[in-house]
């Protein structure tokens, strides 16, 4: 295994484009090292991107949104004084992943690139309308987060491409987001179902809403019908019932030891409702 420490994303992409064998990018390493040590993936080239300037920064962009460096850890996101005020759902989703030790290293972009349908960080990013900048041999391109996963363990990134930044939109007024997951214990587990809701209000009425579900399909899924069920409502019983119904209809889960198809489908509706309630409360300006 060759270990590389490029000092720019162009150089990192160039190394990956030229590599002939298995290539992995290394940031927090909490997935890559597990795969390496259990002989699931043994890279020929391991490209450590942590020496690239800016990868540990959380910065406000010109448009008022946030740029999160690809090597920012979960702990650094939780400790940031302002990120969690704008995007509490994104920060709480990342914070649910693993232990204190894992939080010290794990990154949101790594969670995305690992391609797990049960990734906790990804539904919150999808609901938030986040996008990534991808640097490749032919320059840069922007991809919406929901377009990145392409099946369990797979992404749409092509050979030589590396995610070079994660962008959250400007929060704006009267808006809130939330993420909830179901696990059979209180900590240190993989989501059986995850649900993220991001919405905006005008007075009491929802004017924009995005809903994303995790662990109920081969990829994390944006559910446009679920967002549509909320828009125009005041989160009344009719809207909540419709939300649960379309969220369940969007599920295409597997049966496994964590949960059955029926259980996952039912819980997806319940979590979507509860996340919507929290997002609504946050949008009203009541911290929760």
């Amino acid at each position: 295994m060759r270990y590389h420490t490029p000092d720019s994303f162009d150089e990192a992409a160039g190394l990956a484009a030229k590599a002939s064998g298995t290539t992995r990018f290394l940031a927090g390493g909490t997935d890559v090292l597990v795969q390496l040590r259990s002989d699931i993936v043994t890279p020929d080239d391991l490209i450590d991107i942590k020496l690239i300037p800016g990868v540990r920064e959380i910065a406000v962009e010109d448009n008022g949104g946030w740029r999160i460096g690809v090597a920012v850890s979960g702990a650094e996101m939780s400790e940031h004084p302002r990120l969690g005020l704008d995007w509490p759902g994104v920060v709480e989703a990342m914070d649910l992943i693993g232990s204190t030790q894992i939080q010290g290293r794990a990154t949101l972009v790594g969670n995305l690139c690992n391609g797990s349908p049960a990734a906790d960080g990804v539904p919150a990013l999808v609901a938030a309308g986040a996008h990534v900048t991808v640097t490749g041999p032919n320059g840069k391109r922007a991809i919406a987060v929901e377009e990145v996963p392409d099946g369990p363990g797979k992404t749409v990134l092509e050979k030589g491409e590396v995610i070079s930044a994660l962008h959250l939109p400007a929060r704006g007024q009267g808006a809130g987001d939330a993420y909830l997951r179901f696990i059979p214990r209180t900590e240190m587990d993989i989501a059986v179902v995850g649900a993220a809701v991001n919405l905006r209000l005008d007075g009491d009425t929802i004017t924009e809403a995005r809903v994303a579900l995790g662990a109920v399909a081969p990829t994390v899924r944006l559910v446009p019908e679920a967002g549509a069920a909320l828009v125009g409502s005041t989160l009344d019983d009719t809207a909540m019932e419709k939300l649960a119904q379309v969220a369940r209809a969007a599920c295409d889960p597997i049966d496994d030891r964590r949960g059955t198809v029926a259980f996952r489908t039912k819980v997806a509706g319940v979590l979507a409702q509860r996340a919507a309630q929290i997002a609504y409360t946050r949008a009203k300006g009541e911290r929760k």
């Binding site: 295994m1 270990y3 390493g29 909490t30 597990v34 232990s99 030790q101 900590e187």
Partner: protein
Amino acid sequence: MSMIHVNTKVNGDEAEFLCDPRETLLDVLRDKLNLTGAKEGCGTGDCGACSVTLDGRLVCSCLVLAVEVEGHEIGTIEGIAEGETLHPLQRKFIEHAALQCGICTPGILVAAKSLLEKNPDPSESEVRYWLAGNLCRCTGYDKIIRAVMDTAKDMREAS
């Protein structure tokens, strides 16, 4: 296979070693630097027995490659006592009998010290969540939690 030369700092002292890029920080601490306090339990970041600090941040040393620590600072269990004087956490763990076989203890002490540096007055829930990534198969955890809470109290009163 070419070895990589790494310069780092462990418990405040300069250290250097040669390693294969696949070797973990845990492997190098134990096998090259003779610091065998950090233990390998699972090797996949689930059990916390290999906990160390990297630039002051609690991590699993089994999930850090040794080559990654070039220019960074490592803290291990061996750096917790000052000479013959045990750290208050170590004394309380003995007093409360908060260990049996002892395999998880170095990792738990490093993790608990990291908590008390960040939060000198944690609630029981905060201690339990902070240590959720440190597994102990002997004690049932209660003695560990009580020892950490008691240390925190003593350290607050002493400061």
